[in-house]
Amino acid sequence: MSDRFTITLDGRNCPATSGETVLDVAGREGVSIPTLCHDPRLDPAGACRTCLVEVAGERRMQPACAFRVRPGMEVTTGSERIARHRKVLYGLYLADHRLDGSGLPSENGSVNRLREQAARSGALVLPPVNAPRSGRPGDSNPYIRFDPDLCILCARCTRYCDEVEAVSAITLTERGAATTIGTIGDSGLLDTSCELCGGCIDTCPTGAMTEKKSYGIRHEEMEQVRSTCNFCGVGCQVDLKVHNGRVVKVASPPPGETVNDGNLCVKGRFAYDFIHHEERLRYPMIRGRDGELHRASWDEAIRKTTEGLLAVKEKHGADALGFVSSSRCTGEENYLMQKLSRAAFGTNNCHQCAAT
């Protein structure tokens, strides 16, 4: 069983449970500690050193994301020493990073937590270093793009690929300053075990892993509408990102909020091209005597529909009609379809399509 005890956080007594990390307790207490490599779905890595805090009795600062609480532990999350550490840390990250004119990490449309944090805390300006990290310029997969000069090697993407999606398509490759996010033999993602779930994009804190489809559209310029994915029966919640009246991106709500816990699959995240596809049906159509379909008005099409169904009913009875409803449509629409079948046309021959 886990023990309950208190720890001191910035001078305040806070309840804690054995097994929790300092970051867990701080999150519950509303104390904000910046993180980059932390994702609640992943085992703590303590890799990015952004979340270092002071713990009484520990000579070195400790990563809040990985450091487990102990009874009576005294933690300080903000001090001059911590501020100095962060300034140096961000400076080091920025030294081999692609920067814009303001000296902050370049933006490519994705949420960029490194940029936000460096802007807030300040970063020591160090002479730029040319990083020899390579990407995969020949990767022809249509969805996932990797910009090596925006990567801080926090390994959230590779850990997600190992621990959550469990396909291990990407990994840290090369050594030293050349370390990068690679694949076996530098293959394109289509030729690896990658299932194109795009979880690496969602978890990336710097926009190094990003979407090819919506590349460059700033996230602030997109309107966001929460909805439910229209593919399988898991019911993942999705944020449809709308730009100029079109869905240009689909993302998951943050981990911990909805049934999908921040995750999506390849269809939920990327298979939205059908929405604005040129082959969508745009007008009602009626088959003419020539056997071809012709554009019609809604009035004509609805009248023709009703006449066609009523003619069958008159000649052969209501049970010569069949109504096929759709498990792809909403609950309200299924309700109306069976009501239409039963109340308007008088038959119980109504079944939704997933019946077989």
Partner: protein
């Protein structure tokens, strides 16, 4: 599902049968992977060596269609080794004695002969399942798409009841629903035997309730299920059809029969977002809005009602399905109310369905994770785990289940068993996913997956185009020689309009549900 998706990660044992979870329900598969990482035991029963079998502690690679034998043998072990939860059986169930007696013939050794699964593996799986308190069963269409699909489900339910694995967090009976709203469509009454909320059409009191609510007299006899409707259409008994959001020609078994039937119709109206194989027979086509262009709710596998919200406008004159249905009803002379929004339709339905009554569009604005039915009143938090503290219906009934062979078995002319299913990158009739570059890059054409031994016997090499034939039709597909298959068994996805698996499949249906036998039919293959 009697449990909820977030409970999966806390399970100590997962028994996954007839579910290719990583491809058909990828996000539930992530939860299962997490459970296994946390130390849960995973037992997979599937004729194919699917991805989940790679991380499973035990893979029971049974012959297609022999599930009842396998499950009865597991029950046999549980009973003979005294692993039953007698207190649960006594308090919460009925009919156990008959089941217990009926199981004596289903020995693990007998099961090995019929199913091909080693007797010792069956014994071990049965012991592990019975002895683990938080043990959940997860199944999909590999269980239900058989002429004995209902028997398969009963056999699973018997296992659940005799071990008391019900009404416990992370332990229960969990069908994973294939479509976004298959649960909701059933809940809403789009079935020939139930009004909304599973209220029986054949019950006169129920009929009176709906007649009063809808101010109309209603037909007393239950209707035809979809499988029977397709056959009635082929016989000329169904003469007019209204098809919303479904491609019958791709999705229904024995597709050439379906096409012949559609050709016979006096009148067909299709309401959809794209032209498809079925619209070729339509007299009228009504253009509909897709999910991103309308409001409403979907209900997922764990009974979670969640909002669908309009994000963009439909193309040109396309309209939401619910608006079109209202117009058709009114033009036909039925006074469908003037609903201002989908939320009003929901309210009308919820007033008739007790399990939905506590949920409204307004409540779903505040509950970002949705609300799970039953949710009988507005203050109710929804129901995460069903049957806590005992079965909802009082006592749960055991069912005696006897093994029956599949409708069509392999013979000299058609010596291989074909099962069909879904791949990760496509969705059902694939009208949406064939228009997606990534899906086409990963899975651009049809294939027939087979064991090397069968390929060698037929002189077929990997990647070669072959002809697959059954008594009902034939298709061309690329041979995929794969270590995932059992010898004698082949597998084909059902997505591709230019190479339709359902020209081959058998439309014999389950006696209760009418679900077609997509998982077993006899085929031959030639180069």
């Amino acid at each position: 599902m009697t449990n909820s998706i977030p409970e999966i990660r806390d399970a100590d044992l997962l028994f996954v049968i007839g579910s290719n979870t990583t491809e058909a329900h990828p996000i539930i598969a992530m939860e299962m992977k997490r459970a296994v990482r946390n130390g849960a035991r995973l037992i997979v029963a599937d004729p194919r060596k699917i991805w989940m079998a790679d991380i499973a502690h035990s893979h029971l690679q049974l012959k297609p269609g022999t599930d009842v034998w396998l499950l009865n043998a597991m029950a046999h072990v549980i009973v003979t080794e005294g692993l039953t939860d007698d207190a649960f059986i006594e308090k919460h169930t009925e009919g156990f004695e008959a089941v217990r007696k009926g199981l004596s013939a289903y020995t693990p050794e007998g099961a090995e002969t019929v199913t091909g699964v080693p007797a010792e593996a069956i014994r071990q799986a049965a012991r592990d399942y019975a002895n683990t308190p938080r043990a959940g069963i997860y199944y999909t269409l590999g269980i239900t798409e058989h002429t004995h699909g209902t028997d398969n489900v009963y056999a699973l339910a018997n296992l659940v009841l005799m071990t008391g694995h019900l009404g416990v967090r992370s332990a229960g009976m969990n069908p994973l629903r294939g479509q976004n709203n298959v649960q909701g469509a059933n809940d809403s009454g789009a079935t020939p035997i139930f009004y909304p909320g599973y209220q029986r059409v054949g019950d006169p009191e129920v009929r009176l309730k709906f007649e009063a609510a809808w101010s109309v007299s209603l037909p007393p006899e239950p209707g035809l299920n979809l499988n029977v409707m397709m056959k009635a259409m082929a016989r000329g008994e169904i003469r007019g059809m209204y098809v919303m959001g479904e491609d019958l020609v791709i999705s229904e078994p024995n597709a050439s029969q379906v096409e012949a039937g559609l050709n016979n119709l006096d009148f067909l109206v299709c309401q959809d977002i794209f032209l498809n194989e079925t619209t070729r027979y339509a007299d009228v086509i009504l253009p509909a809005a897709c999910f991103a262009e309308k409001d409403g709710v979907f209900t997922n596998s764990d009974r979670r009602v969640q909002r669908v919200r309009k994000a963009v406008e439909p193309p040109d004159e396309a309209r939401a399905d619910w608006e079109i249905l209202c117009d058709v009803a009114r033009t036909a002379g039925y006074p469908m109310p003037q609903y201002e929004s989908a939320s009003r339709i929901y309210d009308e339905m919820a007033a008739l369905v007790p399990a939905y009554a506590g949920i409204s569009h307004a409540r779903l604005e505040e509950n970002v994770a949705g609300l799970q039915w039953p949710c009988p009143e507005p203050g109710h938090p929804g129901t995460e785990t069903l049957h806590l503290g005992g079965p909802l219906i009082g006592r749960a009934g055991f069912q005696v289940v006897e093994y029956r062979e599949s409708d069509e078995l392999p013979d000299d002319d058609f010596p291989l068993v074909l099962s069909t299913g879904r791949v990760l990158y496509h969705y059902n009739a694939a009208t949406q996913t064939v228009r997606e570059p990534g899906s086409m890059a990963k899975a651009g054409r049809n294939f027939i997956e087979m064991h090397r031994r069968d390929a060698r016997r037929l002189m077929i090499s990997d990647g070669q185009m072959v002809t697959v034939s059954s008594r009902r039709g034939e298709v061309q597909a690329e041979a995929l020689i794969s270590p995932r298959m059992r010898p004698g068994c082949v597998w084909m996805p059902m997505h591709f309009a230019d190479s339709r698996a359902n020209l081959l499949t058998n439309d014999a249906g389950d006696a209760v549900t009418g679900t077609g036998e997509y998982k077993v039919c006899a085929v031959s293959i030639r180069a």
